[in-house]
């Protein structure tokens, strides 16, 4: 496990007509070991760009990403995407096995790990089934199991529930928190849904639009397990949305 420090991170793309478009501007963020951090911001504000830089698919234009006490190349990162991104030609079990294989887990240890995580997401009966025969929510569960199975130091999640109906999303959030409480991973969860952020996070970092920067961070001191009916959740959520609206309104 690792604490992530993001310092003065900036990123810009060059546009075809030679201008450069700033996507991220001076982003500073620390995710403590074992913390569930949410990053909230409007769609298209550069949140995914940030994740891609943390995972190393993209190099920052400026600033640094550090993993406390670890070489960034050796940090084991689990990534859960907006879509399940499964290998549809492999069974549910093989999809998890694939990630373990890539991570170099010895063959004789893999089946037990696969079984354990399938059980954790309630899919042990579907191990031999192909993903396209599953519902969207179940496919998401496979993606979650795959990310947890590799025992990541850091778990990055990019709006993983935004394509699901609210009922399914609620169930999966509950399940995700159960898993997280068992394994206490360091999580950075990206969302544009303020209620989701407040329900899940130990802390919510709020981002503005392009160029994105974090303009406020807020600890959520509510006890777990949390309940959506808790008026506190709703109140904090409303405050954050108001802040965001005022701030984005300023920009226009």
């Amino acid at each position: 496990m690792a604490t992530i420090h993001i310092r003065h991170l900036s990123h810009s793309f060059s546009t075809p007509n030679g201008h450069s478009l700033a996507v991220l501007k001076d982003v500073n963020l620390t995710v403590r070991e074992g913390q569930f951090a949410c990053l909230l911001g409007p769609s298209g504000c550069g949140k995914s760009t940030l994740l891609n830089m943390i995972v190393g698919l993209l190099s920052p234009s400026g600033g640094a990403i550090e993993f406390e006490g670890q070489d960034p190349k050796s940090v084991n990162i689990g990534y859960i995407f907006q879509e399940p991104r499964l290998l549809n030609w492999r069974t549910v079990a093989d999809n998890i096995d694939f990630a373990l294989r890539v991570k170099g887990v010895p063959r004789e240890k893999r089946p037990a790990i696969v079984d354990r995580y399938l059980k954790m997401v309630g899919l042990e009966k579907f191990r031999g089934v192909y993903p396209l025969t599953l519902s969207g929510g179940m496919q998401s569960r496979v993606g979650i199991a795959r990310a947890f199975a590799i025992h990541p130091d850091v778990l990055l999640m990019d709006e993983p529930f935004s394509n699901l109906d609210e009922l399914t999303a609620r169930q999966l959030r509950r399940d995700l928190l159960d898993l997280w409480e068992k394994e206490r991973l360091t999580v950075l969860f990206i969302t544009h849904n303020a209620l989701e952020a407040v329900y899940l996070g130990d802390v919510v970092h709020v981002m503005t639009n392009r160029p994105a920067e974090i303009f406020t961070s807020r600890e959520i001191p509510l006890p777990r397990p949390r309940d959506y009916r808790n008026p506190e959740i709703f109140r904090i959520q409303q405050e954050i949305v108001d802040q965001l609206l005022t701030r984005v309104g300023d920009l226009e």
């Binding site: 995972v55 698919l57 990162i77 990534y79 995407f81 879509e83 991104r85 290998l87 549809n88 030609w89 492999r90 694939f98 990630a99 890539v102 991570k103 954790m120 997401v121 309630g122 899919l123 579907f126 089934v129 192909y130 993903p131 396209l132 025969t133 599953l134 519902s135 969207g136 929510g137 179940m138 569960r141 590799i150 699901l164 109906d165 009922l167 399914t168 169930q171 509950r174 399940d175 159960d178 898993l179």
Partner: protein
């Protein structure tokens, strides 16, 4: 945690006992029966050298099978077809993948494919015999030229349809390039490769027979041309029938099972439709 909500119910768990190659068998049988029935009904109105009946042709076919001469010629035809289609697959993979990943190659080869698809196969059969003489290579060459546009087209489609999000997923796991090619790229191309091969084969059978008729001294086409010279309608039809039977056997006995096995992860079209409706 337990999946207690409706989403935990699978949209469909495929039932493999009912599906498979024998579904709708009765329709296949009916289709063949209708064809044979029509033939048998019409044949008596014509003399045998114009249209022999199915039973008589079947008997002659059986003799060709029993004497063993069929298998010698079939062997030559089959080898030429397999050689040609293998060559065309190589060409198709190289060009098709290139077209899928490079804009300039795409535009360049698109035109060539169009031209290739337009020129009749017969032309190539004649040209390659003129170029390479009465050799196996002449037949193989014409098959490569005739089938590679179709195969290339399929591979090109497949390469364009590659899901790069899966590649990205593998890269977040830090999968090496070798693994990404083997586990993510190739499996996605295989269905396209398969349908390309199938289309290629169906074209190759037609071209090879023409090549052999033009002058090769062995093969099914040679036999048909030989009996044509002797005005034996019975033998021409018997050879054609035998050939067709072997083709169907290959299609249903080899290609179809391979295809089913490789694409078994896809939900049946009907089920996919039901999922989309749900």
């Amino acid at each position: 945690m337990k999946p207690t909500l409706p989403e935990a119910i699978p949209a469909s768990v495929p039932d493999r006992t009912r599906s498979g190659r024998f579904r709708n068998l009765h329709l296949y049988a009916l289709s063949v029966m209708v064809l044979l029935g029509l033939w048998a009904a019409i044949a008596p109105f014509f003399p045998e050298f114009i249209l022999p009946g199915p039973m008589a042709v079947a008997r002659t076919s059986w003799e060709i099978f029993r004497s063993g001469e069929f298998f010698t010629d079939m062997y030559y035809t089959l080898m030429r077809v397999l050689g040609g289609v293998a060559g065309a697959l190589l060409v198709g993979i190289l060009i098709g993948v290139g077209m899928g990943i490079n804009r300039q190659m795409e535009t360049f080869w698109k035109m060539e494919i169009l031209i290739g698809l337009t020129i009749p196969g017969l032309m190539w059969a004649v040209i390659s015999v003129l170029w390479f003489g009465l050799t196996d290579f002449a037949a193989i060459f014409s098959i490569i030229i005739v089938t590679s546009p179709m195969i290339t087209l399929n591979i090109w489609e497949g390469t364009k349809a590659l899901d790069t999000k899966l590649v990205q997923m593998a890269r977040t796991l830090r999968a090496p390039r070798r693994t990404i090619v083997r586990e993510i790229v190739i499996p996605q191309l295989i269905p396209y490769l398969l349908s390309g091969t199938r289309l290629g084969l169906s074209l190759a059978w037609k071209v090879v027979v023409i090549s052999e008729m033009v002058g090769l001294d062995k093969g099914i086409g040679h036999q048909i041309s030989h009996w044509f010279g002797l005005f034996s309608m019975m033998k021409v039809m018997a050879w054609t029938l035998s050939f067709t039977l072997i083709m169907l056997l290959l299609e249903f006995g080899v290609i179809y099972p391979i295809e089913r096995r490789i694409t078994r992860w896809r939900p049946e079209t009907k089920e996919a439709f039901a999922m989309a409706q749900a």
